[in-house]
Amino acid sequence: MAIMRINVGPIHPGTHGVLRLVVDVDGDTIKSVEPHIGFLHRGVEKLMETRMYMQNPSYTEKLDYIAPLSWDDLYVNSVEKALGIPVKEAAQYERVILLEFQRIASHLLWLGTMVNDIGQLFTLFMWCFRDRAKILKLLEDVSGSRMFYVNLRLGGFNKNPPDDFVDRCRALADYLQERISEYPDVLDADSVFMERTKNIGILSRNDAISYGVSGPVLRASGVDEDVRISHPYYIYDKLKFRIPVKTNGDAYDRYRVRYEEMLESISIIRQALEMMPQGDTAGMPIRLIGPAAKPDTVVMQEELPRGEGIIYMVPDKQRPYRISLRSPAFINLSVLPKISENMRFADLFSIVGSLDVIFAEIDR
């Protein structure tokens, strides 16, 4: 049969953003896939060179509108490193707690939409969104806004957390533990979900390393690598947690890794709540940044929900001279042509879905 070329996107419900794929198919089998990106390019790196340090978090948040706090924290943390500003201890605990809640919220949204795409219609989608809404409510009460928080300041937060913060977090962690544990009952019993994720989009261990993927995609391929362990920041070295690792590297394993990560995040939150000291968490007001000692370069890495985010910054006195963002979803997407070869066309979207891509971050 002759090879047929099919255009997918740039606007397509299965790609979760503006991704154009040019797919060559032989019958129903994919022969090659060519991703075309850049439809959402805003030139964020260039823009950030023109703004002062604490004007930039509103850009970093929009890099990943599903987990804004994670990118925001990575950026603020690298500025703190550049300017040599210590983070208050209570604020470190609060940041870790909120970051882990943000990770769960991001994974919940991913899970809900991904299973919805591949035919497990709406039951789990509604469950995930119900639980995510509770996390967003907590983050809203802490920061003042529901999606784009901009509540991090150098050295801490814009204000102290509400009085009942610890109790509310604990109650929410209990609630999530109970709810999230119910999900596999739905999914593992669903033959549609199992057939469309098991042995789909296999990425071997060697390829995962040489293609440079990170985060849950890397760990699903059997590589035990997590920035929270290998380059601990804040208080992660004081906490005990497990890194879920799977070995098949297919879409199902990527789901399992993310699912187990959510449970680990809950355990991290509980430990951090247990150890959290009393104290002030308010950071510096935005305007008070004097000229500071500047190192030549700053490299800061953190584990974002989608993988390893790195900021390579050449700091200047009031603003970054050059800032370069390593987007985990960018490099996770670049592996798509490799893993979708010889798959069926219908499975392309469970593969794209399982990579958890987000285009605001990929195109920058």
Partner: protein, 108 residues
Amino acid sequence: MKGKGFDYLKKITAVDYTDHLEVVYLLYNTKERKDEIVRVKLDPETAEVPTLMKIYPSADWYERELFEMFGINIQGRETKKLLLELWNGVDFPLRKSFTWGKPYKKME
């Protein structure tokens, strides 16, 4: 570098210091969990680096980005396909000499 166990290329990026360009490679050793940063100084006029695609396939998109954003030529790549594709491939936005508001030149 790969012989020394640095099997994971995290990122390639570049910095324009106006008098020279610097290409930065962030490498990682997954077994020993060690980082390494390699910096290469280049002349802005004749900037060129060899491709790493044979050693690290992850270099593919980063190299396309280097060419598109900094105008750094990549030796040994057959295609000069841009990554973002909507840009013209004549002006290099992340260089400091790039000026805002120039009329948009169409790609040939």
